[in-house]
């Protein structure tokens, strides 16, 4: 039995941020964000409102371009517009109101299969509908195939949005407060659902949340965004960055508790590091 002596190679970063800045005019939203996201990690992102969490995700979807710095996927700049390798679920408006649940899920498959019409016929249509139905079943919506989103509860709509995003097998799934509008019981169901899908589909997930417990329960890594420095006269002159970055080791729940308190300080009572210039 030969013993493997060398360490397995560390997986290369799936996403990397190199000195990224985002500015609107003279308002700095993000400053000097430098991060690597490993494949198959579940990254929870927390931070006070307005800290730039959504902006951070928008850099990955391609809705936003860095003012300075680069965002790389697999080492190549690939995020200048949304694409199927980066799935998204927003807090609201994530599903198409004019399509039934099944058609919402089939949307991505139809687009892939029919560049001209975006819809398929005959055997290919049947195959797509079967695949979409299987995906609906995976999120527990097997009984709601023909229902329109307006007839669904908030939780059902988010399940649908997740199924819709997963059907194209994205490398990264971006969730922006996906469970923010759901009540606690439904949230627990959704946690189980998303953890199961994350493991089964070997996904990389980045999820923004306001719930610190949720962040630590689901994530393998927790990022907190906030301003590192503040100028009381011109608060907009400094942007936020990842002020806290914690790789969760599931073996030490006690450590996690103190970590949660640390993050609570960041998100709740914002620390004020006034910089004397």
């Amino acid at each position: 039995m030969a013993q493997v002596l060398t360490m397995p190679p560390r997986p290369a970063a799936l996403l990397s941020f190199e000195e990224v800045w985002v500015e609107y005019g003279d308002k700095v939203v993000l400053e000097r964000v430098s991060l690597q996201i490993a494949p198959q990690s579940f990254v929870s992102i927390v931070g006070p409102s307005g800290a730039g969490k959504s902006t951070f995700l928008r850099l990955i979807t391609g809705q936003e371009q860095p003012t300075r710095g680069r965002v790389l996927m697999d080492g190549a700049p690939a995020c200048d517009e949304p694409g199927p390798e980066r799935g998204v679920v927003f807090q609201r408006y994530s599903v198409f109101p004019h399509l039934s649940a099944l058609d919402n899920v089939a949307f991505g498959l139809n687009c892939a299969g029919s560049p001209l019409l975006g819809r398929l016929f005959g055997a290919r249509r049947r195959a797509v509908r079967e695949e979409a139905a299987a995906m609906l079943e995976a999120v527990g919506l097997q009984d709601a195939r023909e229902i329109y989103p307006s007839q669904m509860s908030g939780g059902m709509q988010q399940r649908l949005a997740i199924a819709q995003a997963l059907v194209r097998h994205p490398r990264v799934l971006l969730l922006d407060e996906p469970f923010g509008a759901l009540d606690p019981g439904i949230r627990l169901d959704m946690h189980e659902l998303i953890l199961g899908l994350w493991q089964r589909h070997t996904l990389t997930i980045l999820m923004v949340t306001h719930d610190i417990k949720e962040a630590f329960k689901l994530g393998t890594r927790v990022l907190a965004f906030d301003k590192r420095r503040r100028d009381p006269q011109a608060p907009h002159r400094y942007g936020a960055t990842a002020v806290y970055d914690f790789l969760l080791d599931r073996k030490s729940p006690l450590g996690v508790l103190s970590e949660m308190e640390a993050v609570q300080d960041i998100v709740g009572i914002a620390p004020s590091f006034d910089v004397p210039l």
Partner: protein
């Protein structure tokens, strides 16, 4: 006592409530007409219902001079003009409204032009149309198209622009191209609005149709009204106006039905 806000008439009560004002108007007219006829039995300004029925029966008879039925001829000609114009306006709206609403580059290029066209009073253009297209059907149809299209295009573009950005991003993150997004996301959501926009444009469309017919035509509902005006033939004008209104109401109801049937998702079960 419930708030007035929350009192919702239903079923028969609702029908009755809608009929009452109509009945009141009819009664009011009847009273005024009777009063005038007591003073002057040959009054032409407020003809009695009986006189109007007689006049309309005449209009619905074959005219021995031409061998045609004026009422049907007029109705056919007017509806043809209106329909052709609305089909053209709707097609233009579909293409331009979608493009303007969905593509920032088209909005930047053509937005100002559409806004400029929209403020031109269409009737002021009518002489130009008559000069360019002659006095035939083309000028009349063009007037209606010119009159309603800018509004419809802007309405639809605004509606498409208002589709949440999340949906557009979502479509792209599912691999949709610009074309697929237009066809499968923007178009289906634009269609119910397009029907509403046609409904709103029906009123102006009739105005432009009747104006054009009044000025240059030899058949049509507007033409007839302005022709018999010379003889103070209120017994024809009033039923014609009622007939035009009825046609407009029927077209409106048809469009609502089409929208309800074709776009079930856009009509939630409970309508306020």
């Amino acid at each position: 006592m419930r708030r007035l806000l929350n009192v919702r008439p239903r079923g028969g009560g609702r029908l009755l409530l809608g009929l009452l004002p109509l009945l009141a108007v009819a009664l009011l007219y009847l009273g005024a007409s009777t009063a005038r006829h007591i003073e002057n039995p040959r009054d032409k300004i407020l003809p009695t219902p009986a006189a109007m029925v007689v006049a309309m029966i005449d209009m619905a008879k074959v005219d021995p001079m031409t061998g045609r039925v004026p009422l049907f001829e007029d109705t056919g000609a007017s509806l043809r003009r209106l329909t052709v114009a609305l089909v053209i306006a709707t097609s233009i709206t579909l293409v331009f409204g979608l493009a303007l609403g969905l593509l920032p580059i088209v909005r930047a290029g053509f937005g100002p032009l559409v806004a400029a066209i929209a403020v031109i009073p269409p009737i002021a253009v009518l002489p130009i149309l008559f000069i360019v297209f002659g006095l035939g059907e083309t000028a009349k149809i063009t007037l209606i198209v010119f009159g309603v299209t800018p509004f419809m295009v802007r309405d639809l573009a605004a509606h498409v622009t208002a589709i949440p950005e999340e949906q557009i991003v979502k479509a792209q993150s599912l691999g949709a191209s610009t074309w697929q997004t237009a066809l499968q996301v923007a178009l289906p959501q634009a269609l119910p609005r397009l029907i509403d926009s046609v409904r709103l444009s029906l009123g102006p469309a009739w105005v432009f149709l009747i104006s054009a017919e009044a000025i240059a035509a030899d058949v049509g509902l507007g033409y007839r009204i302005f022709l018999v005006r010379r003889y103070l033939a209120m017994d024809i004008i009033l039923p014609y106006v009622a007939w035009i209104s009825l046609l407009a109401v029927i077209m409106d109801l048809l469009l609502v039905q089409v929208s309800r049937r074709a776009f079930r998702w856009a009509h939630p079960l409970r309508d306020r």
